[in-house]
């Protein structure tokens, strides 16, 4: 899932996660430099099989 990070004080506190409301044009905000994307990385830790 893509997270959006605020890059301009015009839409909130810089560095905070941006949670779009209904009807928000994300592409326009990225293009205008107001937010950036931060793709969440999954842990590389592999779960071991449960011991029986």
């Amino acid at each position: 899932m893509t997270k959006y990070i605020i890059q301009s004080s015009r839409i909130g506190k810089i560095g905070d996660q941006f949670i779009p409301t209904d009807g928000t044009n994300i592409e326009a905000l990225i293009e205008g430099g107001f937010i950036s994307t931060a793709t969440e990385t999954k842990s590389s830790k592999v779960k071991s099989e449960p011991k029986e």
Partner: protein, 137 residues
């Protein structure tokens, strides 16, 4: 004399961007299209409500600096977005309601409107979208 007035000083956001400090005029108009339902025997035309066709017009100082007018609007031309406006900068309340147009459409953007000796200002119009009013923060 009017008993209650307020000094125009609205807060305006376009696509979640607070553009208040670039805005000098704003007119939000709630429109419900009139559909005529007059029939024979009537002595005057009558109408019933059709679809909403709301409109928000803004006058903005133009700026090409980062996070300013052009950066806010350029990517919105030809698309739908959400705009909000409230009468004053105070918290949303019954006496300072927040008006929202959701998925309103920006058809045109005057990129430059230059006049000798004057600041570049542009007028834009958002058309359509669902009108809603909130009185709770």
């Amino acid at each position: 004399m009017a008993t209650t007035t307020y000094l125009s000083n609205p807060t305006v956001t376009v696509n979640s961007v607070d553009i208040t400090d670039q805005c000098t005029a704003a007119t939000l108009t709630k429109v419900v299209e009139a559909l005529e339902n007059t029939a024979f025997g009537a002595t005057a035309r009558t109408y019933t409500g059709g679809l909403q066709n709301n409109e928000l017009t803004l006058t903005l100082y133009n700026s090409f600096a980062a996070s300013e007018t052009y950066a806010t609007l350029n990517g919105l031309v030809g698309t739908g977005t959400t705009v909000t406006i409230k009468p004053t900068g105070s918290a949303v309340s019954a006496t300072n309601p927040l008006f929202t147009l959701t998925l309103t459409y920006l058809e045109t953007l005057p990129v430059i409107n230059a006049t000798l000796g004057e600041l570049d200002t542009i007028d834009i119009t958002f058309t359509g979208g669902t009108y809603s009013v909130s009185t709770t923060p």
